[in-house]
């Protein structure tokens, strides 16, 4: 009853330049309960954005969701929906916030019109009623002087304002799940904090479940209930936030934490993860992190499944079964 989203073995494929297809998202599974926040963390190219797009069947052609994937919104099987049925859940069951608000808003329509459109797509209300609701949404996301901002065009607003508008659009149809794909990446640091605060506030007041997608570990702490770390199309570690921060177990996660500069504590040298994220064509057989892993060993040549490491804590690494752990 409280489970709102259930993703099982999601696989998204793209045509490979040399023919055939490769899996940009390779067997992702996660769940989301009412009111909880799950953070999906990873570097660019790991497939996290595609995962979020897949939830609403928005994967751009020529990509496609492979058979065997399952996405369930409560009782609804999303992947079996088409046409009008699919349209009805977009925005209404899941609201999405995209990364770059400048290019994600239509430049030729006013901000108010774009919010109202989201409302009228799902609720049979009059234009004036939709306008009133848009106004309230603008106020809710903290835009000053909302009545006149309703008639503004996207290019007339600052980056932070535009992102607030995007949030308002995502909330327009009162969804139960909010997917925020890198909501602060395109913004200045000072504005980032403001946007995150808006998200926190709204999440609490609307009781939504949130899927937060980011590459920034910093915004995850204190905000997400659970974290899933992605690498090369797979989830490599998942745990409640506190546990992950306390004892990151997968070598990749450990590398991520080690490469984050800290203000407190003794000065130490930053240790970046050697090498770079390989393109799908260069994915090794077996564990995909092996070429860059300081702890790789013979078992790494076979693909590890997600293995338990602690309470509600799993990682995709054979070291979980080794005495002494990782």
């Amino acid at each position: 009853m409280s489970r709102v989203l259930d993703v099982e073995n999601l696989r998204v494929s793209f045509p490979a330049p040399s023919g055939g297809r490769f899996l940009a998202v390779d067997g992702i599974s996660f769940t989301l309960d009412r009111g909880e926040t799950l953070a999906l963390v990873g570097e660019s190219g790991c497939g996290k954005s595609l995962t979020s797009l897949a939830l609403l069947q928005l994967v751009p052609a020529p990509g496609r969701i492979e058979a065997g994937s399952a996405i369930r919104l409560g009782d609804t099987d999303v992947l079996s929906l088409k046409g009008e049925a699919l349209r009805r859940i977009r925005g209404r069951r899941i609201g999405m916030i995209f990364q770059d608000p400048m290019t994600s808003l239509n430049p030729v329509f006013t901000v108010g019109d774009q919010i109202a459109e989201g409302i009228r797509a799902h609720f049979p209300v009059s234009r004036s009623e939709a306008r009133d609701r848009s106004l309230r949404l603008l106020q809710e996301v903290g835009i000053p002087d909302a009545p006149s901002r309703l008639h503004a065009y996207p290019h007339q607003l600052s980056g932070g304002m535009r992102q607030r508008v995007m949030i308002a659009i995502a909330l327009a149809a009162e969804p139960e799940i909010l997917v925020a794909d890198e909501p602060t990446t395109a913004l200045d640091v000072t504005v980032q904090a403001q946007i995150l605060e808006v998200l926190d506030r709204l999440r609490a007041s609307h009781g939504m479940a949130v899927l937060l997608i980011t590459h920034d570990l910093g915004i995850v702490a204190g905000r997400a209930d659970r974290v899933a770390v992605m690498y090369a199309g797979q989830i490599v570690e998942e745990a409640p936030t506190a546990r992950l921060f306390a004892s990151p177990s997968h070598p990749y996660t450990q590398g991520l934490f080690a490469s984050v500069p800290r203000i407190t504590g003794p000065l130490h040298r930053l240790t970046p993860i050697g090498g770079s994220v390989p393109p799908p064509s260069a994915w090794p057989a077996g564990c995909r992190f092996r070429p860059r892993c300081p702890k790789a060993f013979e078992r790494s040549e076979t693909m590890p499944p997600l293995l338990p490491v602690g309470p509600e804590h799993r990682m995709r690494c054979w070291l979980a079964e080794e005495p002494g752990g990782s």
Binding site: R87, N106, P107, F109, I169
Partner: protein, 323 residues
């Protein structure tokens, strides 16, 4: 906005002035007095010859000629046609409706069917329909309009005898035929030339629109619209097409002059009594005043069309307005 408009108007006026100068220079390219060579074959009365000569000040030095020419244009006088013996403005006015009819029909076809097909192609990109339409439009683009006209005239007009192939009206029509009869008659005559001209021009419109739509459809705000739950038809027409209009507006501006200059070749093939066939005939007769008049009209239209296009851009795109 007002200041921008004033600036653009000044620019347009300047261009027009340069056009007048250019045409004047071109007319003087012909060695000797343009009128003296054709007095024998022309239809002009001695008075008209004298009037035209005076209008162009052909017996005065260059500077005075130019001045007189410009003044004449200011008064709306373009001299007398050497071949027809009538004022150029009169002839143009007589032939204008036919050209407007043909040009207007073609423009209408292009900017309804052409745009719609272009959008369809973009939305169904890569499909068989898309590929066929692209192939057809490429072929159409490469087809000489006069040849296509002849082929159609031969196939439809002569072999099948479905449609008339020459002129705008049937010479057999009685002078007091009703409006509907006349309209149908003109319509029947209009079909082949309009079809011909549309076939070779619609290709360009389709490609333009397709290209513009493809560019817009890959932009992030299209994904946002879908993610909001907007219906796919609204995503295509309300969100995407609205932004894909800009190049099309430019295209329309490029074509507005077609409305009046018609197609010289198509009108010639079908003996359509418009400005195009007028110009084609004027060359052989060395009818400079007529050619000048039509060229000036055409240029004036192009300049106006460009101005209107820029205006439309500023109205369509709120970003331009604020800058």
């Amino acid at each position: 906005m007002g200041r921008w408009l004033a600036r653009r108007l000044a620019q347009a006026a300047l261009t027009f002035v340069v056009v007048v100068l250019l045409l004047f220079v071109l007319m003087r390219l012909a060695p000797g007095d343009p009128l003296s060579r054709l007095q024998d074959g022309s239809q002009m009365s001695p008075e008209e010859i004298a009037w035209t000569r005076q209008l162009y000040q052909l017996d005065r030095p260059m500077g005075a000629q130019l001045l007189a020419f410009v003044q004449g244009i200011g008064r709306g006088e373009l001299g007398s046609s050497i071949a027809y013996g009538l004022p150029v403005t009169t002839i143009i006015r007589q032939r204008l409706p036919a050209t407007l009819l043909l040009g207007g029909t073609v423009l209408l076809l292009n900017f309804t069917l052409g745009l719609w097909l272009g959008v369809r192609q973009a939305v169904r990109r890569g499909s068989r329909e898309d590929r066929w339409l692209t192939a057809l439009s490429l072929a159409g683009y490469a087809t000489p309009s006069f040849w296509l006209g002849l082929v159609l005239a031969w196939a439809v007009g002569v072999k099948l005898r479905w449609l008339p192939t020459g002129g705008m009206t049937s010479p057999l029509l009685s002078p007091d035929a009703g409006f509907a009869t006349v309209a149908i008659d003109i319509g029947a005559h209009l079909i082949l030339p309009a079809l011909t001209l549309s076939a070779v021009t619609i290709a360009g419109t389709m490609r333009f629109q397709r290209g513009a739509m493809l560019e817009v459809l890959r932009l992030p705000y299209i994904v946002t619209a879908r993610a909001k739950g907007v219906r796919e038809s609204a995503v295509t027409w309300h969100h995407a097409w609205r932004n894909a209009l800009f190049p099309v507006v430019t295209l329309f501006g490029l074509w507005l002059p077609l409305l009046v200059t018609g197609s010289v070749f198509v009108e010639a093939v079908f003996a359509w009594p418009g400005l195009g066939s007028l110009a084609a005939g004027a060359v052989g007769a060395r009818d400079y005043p007529l050619l000048m008049g039509t060229s000036l009209l055409a240029a004036g239209l192009v300049i106006t069309a460009n101005l209107l296009t820029d205006l439309a851009y500023s109205l369509l795109d709120p970003r331009v307005r604020s800058s």
